[in-house]
Amino acid sequence: MPENNTPMLSLKNVVKTFYAGTVNEKTALNNLCLDLYPGDFVTVIGGNGAGKSTMLNATAGVFPIDGGDVFIDGVNVTKLPEHKRAKYIGRVFQDPMMGTAANMQIEENLAIAARRGKKRTLRWSITQQERAEFKKMLSILGLGLEDRMTAKVGLLSGGQRQALTLLMATLNRPKILLLDEHTAALDPKTAAKVLEITEKVVSENKLTTLMITHNMKDAIKHGNRLIMMHEGRVVVDVSGEEKQKLTVEDLLMLFSRASGSEFASDRAMLSAE
């Protein structure tokens, strides 16, 4: 759904090889190309080891890439370290422990997130006005966190932590939101709730989003575009009406055709539920 000519995210021939030159050498991203346009909500599927997480990490600058370029809203960020790129990027991880500081209060975590992309000075770390804003935002999540603003995040459940991390990732409207199986560690009911919140946050802020999921139904249900990865490349890319009409069976078919491997064995890598 290109609304604009400059892609919000552009991965150009990105190559990433782990353990290069050893017997364990693994090309996780193999000349990967992908353009996301403003407002694209792209769901990402693919078997284990297809390179999905590596694609998100390369975008976020977790490690240097071995080839290619990463552009965010037209700016080449390939050489920017992770903490500088964070200015443009919001992230939620699979592990609920990874996105928050357990030993700090809910409001302290939010205050840190509110300063993403800004200089950290010797001003007090949280203002009264921010507290009021955070309270309002937390109440929208509907998890009762607005009454526990000074509770340590370590006391929250996995689902609550993911919802909080999502709020932290989107507090300063990021140019790109990266979600790496952020509901995979949650029980189905909590996962559905967090996905619902995700849908709401993404659509209300018109966020350009990459969401990796194991669940093909979720991949079909959410977003305006779906990509499938295999061996470090995008092998299927459907959007618009075509995506709306997709079924799980279609996806399995597409997957076995693209990967050229056995239908049954690939079925094990993706879940229909």
């Binding site: 903490h83 840190i112 300063r115 993403r116 010797l122 770390s125 029980d187 094990a268 879940s271």
Partner: protein, 314 residues
């Protein structure tokens, strides 16, 4: 009773060491061994300057500054050269041994004949040295605690605290974790050197081996303080607990020496006190009620791998 007060007075200046160790060990989660070098560095720097008739206040401030530099070097070794924390600290400590000797010019400096903070102030305030050092130690500790409370409440301070808890989250939120570690270690070692600067003036001499065992003293103070003040939530009082932990440690040492127990037994008494403190805190935690949400979190964790397995095999 005088030996108790003397122990307290010493505890208050060794408390600065404990606070510094607390910053690296607890807040940054960085086992920094450079502290044994930086406490001696503070003492060497201050006593060298004092023998050159530099004002005691300036000598103390300079000690703090060179301590900061030493900490920053440990931080640089770790973040830029990717040397593991323990080894970075050991390297700095080893290098500091030579540097301290160079600063002092010998293994010992006597301060009996030069004006120190204590001789100057006791002349001005007409107080005995023990009372003066109690008052001075209390004032300095309270001032340092207040500054730390303020600093770790600022945006920069909060990002240093967060770095010690979850680096991954910090980088995702745009925090330069290399920088926060370097700043944290600088302040930590600055305080430790400050402690050394007071110690040498209190005891009237400086020695190249002043820092031997400092890390254990620091950790013991932290453990005692945390055990006694395990229920304290406010950061200022947590810091206060560490100070009191250091004071208790020194009182134990003073008691050992007062009753003419062999000085070799100081270490075993320390071990007993730390074990007792740990026992008390463990017992207190057992009878204390756990937060219901914490239990819930624990229950949920084991289900994570199960959940994944189900999905993978679907």
């Amino acid at each position: 009773m005088d030996f108790i007060f003397k122990g307290m007075a010493q505890g208050l200046i060794w408390a600065l060491l404990a606070l510094g160790v607390y910053l690296s060990y607890r807040i940054l989660d960085f086992a920094d061994l450079s502290c044994e070098g930086s406490i001696t560095l503070g003492a060497s720097m201050a006593s060298m300057l004092l023998t050159k008739n530099v004002s005691p206040i300036i000598a103390v401030l300079m000690a703090f500054l060179v301590g900061c530099v030493a900490g920053a070097i440990t931080g640089l070794l770790h973040t830029k050269l990717k040397i593991p924390p323990i080894l970075s600290g050991i390297l700095t400590m080893t290098a500091l041994f030579s540097i301290n000797l160079h600063i002092m010019g010998s293994a010992n400096i006597q301060l009996n004949s030069v004006p120190t903070l204590y001789t100057q102030l006791s002349g001005m305030l007409h107080l005995s040295k023990t009372y003066l050092s109690l008052i001075l130690g209390t004032v300095v500790c309270l001032a340092v605690m207040a500054m730390l409370y303020w600093f770790f409440g600022t945006e920069l301070g909060a990002s240093i605290r967060a770095t010690g808890i979850n680096e991954n989250m910090c980088r995702a939120q745009g925090i330069d974790t290399d920088l926060t570690k370097i700043i944290g270690l600088a302040i930590s070692n600055g305080l430790i050197a400050l402690s050394g600067a007071f110690i040498c003036q209190y005891q009237g001499y400086s020695n190249i081996n002043l820092g031997v065992g400092a890390i254990v003293i620091g950790l013991a103070s932290i453990i005692i303080g945390e055990a006694i003040f395990s229920k304290v939530k406010n950061f200022f009082f947590t810091l206060g607990g560490i100070v009191i932990g250091a004071v208790i440690y020194r009182i134990v040492v003073a008691v050992v020496l007062y009753f003419n127990m062999p000085t070799e037994d100081v270490k075993i008494m320390t071990a007993f006190v730390v074990i007792a403190a740990l026992f008390v805190s463990k017992y207190a935690n057992k009878i204390g009620k756990k937060h219901p949400a914490a239990k819930h979190d624990k229950k949920e964790e084991p289900s994570i791998p199960e959940e994944k397995e189900v999905k993978d095999n679907a």
